[in-house]
């Protein structure tokens, strides 16, 4: 077998996903920890002010990055529409409810909107997007296992915790189907017969308890599986060494530049408006 004749340490031998990764968009190839760092840089830079300019620049920058993550506006919408709607709704309420300084734009019944409050609302909506988009972009182009690799190997988080969480996340997907099954199983026992509102709540509580019991059982069986594979005792090796390379530094640098551009422009034009 080839492994005998070639006990290599070349990247290809160590990383069997190399060829699959090469086909990924640029951000898919970047180390997840670098992406996490970039996300933190942008988020931290944007939480201080509520002006529309810095948030607008950040959103624009983030939209320009989309192709690097293999996304376009349509696929982004499919992933992030609840966030977009939430941001718009937040912006709308801010615009309507904020005190009306400056010239009035319109007034319908109790709703009035001034220029000032409109800007405030726009700023609020853009900021929501600017902070949420990096996370959406990151999740779209990051394999959870590789994020766990990076967190355990590079960020030095305890590997029991990181890998335990990773394995448990798989079970969350199963819970949706389990909830439905338990609901049917309980109807077949006659639960929910009396039909009152309180009885309905009681039935849902019972169903939740059933789900809880089943989740714990599943989790403990999974724990046995992991323990039987030698998990959690003694030192372990990593089949997928997680490394930072030059490209990862560029991603971080890009995030710093974008954050700097957004905050800097805002400061220079006097739009910067610190919240407290």
């Amino acid at each position: 077998m080839s492994a005998v004749s070639a006990p290599t340490t070349t990247a290809a031998a160590v990383d069997p996903y190399a060829s699959a990764r090469a086909a990924q968009p640029l951000l898919g190839r970047v180390n997840p920890l670098a992406k996490l760092g970039a996300l933190v840089v942008i988020t931290v830079a944007l939480v201080w002010s509520i002006d529309w300019l810095s948030a607008g620049i950040a959103v624009l920058g983030e939209l320009l990055v989309l192709p690097l993550a293999g996304l376009n506006l349509r696929t982004l919408w499919l992933r992030a529409w609840p966030l977009v709607c939430g941001a718009l709704l937040g912006g709308w309420s801010t615009a309507v409810l904020a005190p009306d300084k400056g010239p009035l734009i319109f007034s319908v019944g109790i709703w009035t909107m001034g220029e000032h409050s409109l800007l405030l609302g726009v700023g609020f909506a853009l900021r929501g997007l600017a902070i949420a988009l990096p996370a959406v972009i990151m999740m779209a182009c990051t394999e959870p296992t590789e994020l766990a690799d990076a967190l355990a190997q590079l960020a030095r988080l305890p590997h029991r915790f990181v890998l335990g969480t990773l394995a448990a996340l798989r079970l969350v997907g199963l819970m949706v189907e389990e909830w439905q099954t338990i609901g049917m199983a309980r109807r077949a026992r006659g639960v929910g017969s009396s039909g009152g509102f309180l009885a309905g709540i009681g039935a849902k509580l019972g169903q939740s308890f059933g789900l809880l019991v089943q989740s714990i059982r599943r989790a403990s069986r999974l724990a046995v599986t992991m323990e039987a594979r030698g998990f959690g005792a003694g030192p372990r090796s990593w089949a997928r060494p997680s490394r930072m390379v030059r490209a990862d530094a560029w991603v971080l640098l890009g995030a710093v530049l974008l954050a700097g551009l957004a905050v800097g422009t805002s400061l220079l034009t006097g739009a910067w408006h610190v919240v407290y």
Binding site: M1, A3, V4, P7, T8, T9, A13, V14, P16, Y17, A20, E143, P144, T145, L166, A167, R170, L174, E177, Q180, T181, I182, G183, M184, A185, R186, R187, A188, R189, G190, V191, G192, S193, G195, G206, G210, V213, Q214, R217, R218, R221, L222, V224, T225, M226, E227, A228, R229, G230, F231, G232, A233, G234, P235, R236, S237, W238, A239, R240, P241
Partner: protein, 522 residues
């Protein structure tokens, strides 16, 4: 290259016993056993004999921190060392495919065990590919998502994960109990191939002797140690030897203990019904999907059905078995007929006879529109996983629950307790029962509401021969009383014993198939 690297392990037990924390009775007591390196052994015994406990102990996962008042006696050794210290010498595959998968990609999942044993990264991927080849999954790309695998593939993946650890001892705890017949053979053949390639010692626990008897060197039978009507039974090893010799010499006593001995189908009390009954439930051009239950508000688009154009009739006193491979939509069909899922297309209609059964007559003839109280007196459904249907804290309350919901007397409760041998367990928590006891309880709770139609999803999965026979006899009795029985099952013996007609889901011919139960005569 593999065979030179794996050193088969030796198992030694001397007066070994184990009592779980908080239990009065030991799970295993006084076990003496020797398994030679490279030997392939099938471990048999009645439920409660401690077979799983032994496997867990050998895998080194017994006696973790949660179980600190557990009690160990004697010695259990792998290569002369305690299994907890011999980490990586033994690998375990368990029953539930869902909890055998750890990570999201096939390659990562197989590599997991080897990583935990601190194998060098460059060597791990060679082992991963070898292990996947050995279990017949070599054609899958390493980044194939594990959630897209079938049950049989998940079990083979688990086996590959174990093989990548290069264990000297492979432990299998009912690895095929949740699989359809094709999946059973698929997993068994993968085990044989892998063990032949590595030369590892093999220890299998399985109810189905038929599947394994030709591939193991030795059969070992454990006694339950539990007192029967005749006093304390033997514990520890009660028989050991070549498969045919043990099965010939001890076939009767094994069968009496509930072990599935090849060539013996347990006898049922009662006879299978014949002739036609009156129509209870009629399904016409039915299309079914689990997504139907999720459809609310926005979802105007009908979900894609998993099974469509099913027409069948259920008649009183007649049995029907729904058969077919995993994923063919059998359970979904049963749930739709049971009034628990709305049909995607077509209709399920209860006959006048069914509507008249029980107190208040439902306004609609379709079961999925009935209220829960109207449903349980007409159609009783027994789910594959009994725990899904437990709603109270004791066995007695479980049985009283249905009649109380209906405001009825509890006259049938005592009879059911006795009939299903649950009278000694009335105060027990349902979750603490054994697998067979849980199955009996789940059937009893549904029968307590006197349904005219009984629907069972895989009622015989993982059951020993005794529970199988009790269940079959009870169903024959119900059939004689005029109850209609529909079972989703892979179990051909069960179908035959009930004299059931068969509806094959998922075969190419199903698209236009329809059956009418009973009309053809048995």
């Amino acid at each position: 290259m593999t065979s030179t690297e794996v050193r088969p392990a030796r198992v030694t037990a001397r007066g070994w016993g184990w009592r779980h924390g908080g239990r009065g009775r030991a799970a295993v007591a006084g076990l003496d056993l020797d398994i030679e390196p490279g030997e392939k052994v099938l471990l048999l015994g009645p439920s409660g004999a401690g077979k799983s406990t032994l496997l867990h102990a050998l895998a080194g996962v017994l006696g973790s921190s949660e179980d600190d008042d557990a009690d160990e006696t004697g010695a259990l050794l792998v290569d002369g060392r305690s299994p907890r210290e011999a980490r990586g010498r033994a690998g375990l595959v368990q029953q539930d495919p869902e909890t055998q998968v750890i990570l999201g990609r096939v390659g990562d999942d197989v590599a997991f065990g080897a990583e935990n044993l601190a194998v060098a990264p460059a060597e791990i991927w060679g082992r991963v590919r070898q292990a996947l080849d050995d279990v017949g999954l070599g054609s899958l790309p390493l980044d194939h998502p594990t959630h897209a695998l079938s049950g049989g593939q998940k079990q083979r993946l688990a086996l590959a994960g174990v093989l990548a650890m290069r264990p000297g001892l492979v432990l299998l705890d009912e690895p095929t109990a949740n699989l359809d017949p094709a999946g059973v053979l698929e997993v068994r053949d993968a085990v044989i191939r892998a063990v032949a390639a590595t030369g590892a010692t093999l220890l299998v626990v399985e109810h189905r002797v038929e599947v394994w008897k030709d591939v193991v060197d030795r059969v070992v039978v454990l006694g339950s140690g539990r007192q029967g009507s005749t006093g304390a039974g033997p514990s520890g090893v009660v028989a050991s030897g070549p498969p045919s010799a043990v099965l010939d010499a001890r076939g009767d006593s094994l069968a009496a203990q509930g072990v599935w001995v090849p060539g013996r189908v347990p006898a049922l009390k009662g006879t299978a019904p014949r002739g036609a009954g009156e129509t209870l439930l009629d399904a016409r051009h039915l299309a079914v999907s689990r997504a139907a239950a999720m459809r609310r508000g926005f979802g105007s688009k009908a979900p894609a059905p998993v099974l469509s154009d099913v027409s069948l009739t259920l008649e009183s006193g007649r049995a029907l078995s729904v058969t077919g491979p995993n994923g063919a939509g059998k359970s979904t069909l049963a749930l739709t007929l049971a009034g628990l899922l709305a049909p995607v297309r077509g209709a399920v209609v209860g006959s006048q006879a069914l509507l008249a059964a029980g107190g208040s007559v439902p306004r609609h003839p379709e079961p999925h529109r009935w209220r829960a109280k109207e449903l349980i007196t007409r159609i009783g459904t027994v789910f594959q996983e009994p725990e899904h249907q437990f709603v109270t804290g004791t066995v007695l309350d479980e049985l009283r629950f249905g009649p109380r919901q209906l405001g009825r007397g509890e006259d049938r409760v005592d009879e059911l307790l006795q009939r299903l041998r649950l009278e000694n367990l009335v105060d027990a928590n349902p979750y603490t029962l054994s697998g067979g006891e849980k199955r009996r309880l789940s059937v009893a709770t549904v029968l307590a509401a006197h349904p005219r139609l009984l629907i069972l999803d895989e009622p015989t999965f993982g059951q020993d021969a005794n529970t199988w026979a009790e269940l079959g006899s009870l169903l024959l009795e119900l059939l004689a009383d005029g109850v209609a029985v529909l079972s989703v099952t892979h179990d051909a013996d069960f179908t035959r014993a009930l004299g059931a007609s068969e509806f094959a889901a998922g075969s190419p011919a199903t698209a236009e198939r329809s059956v009418t139960v009973g009309k053809e005569g048995a």
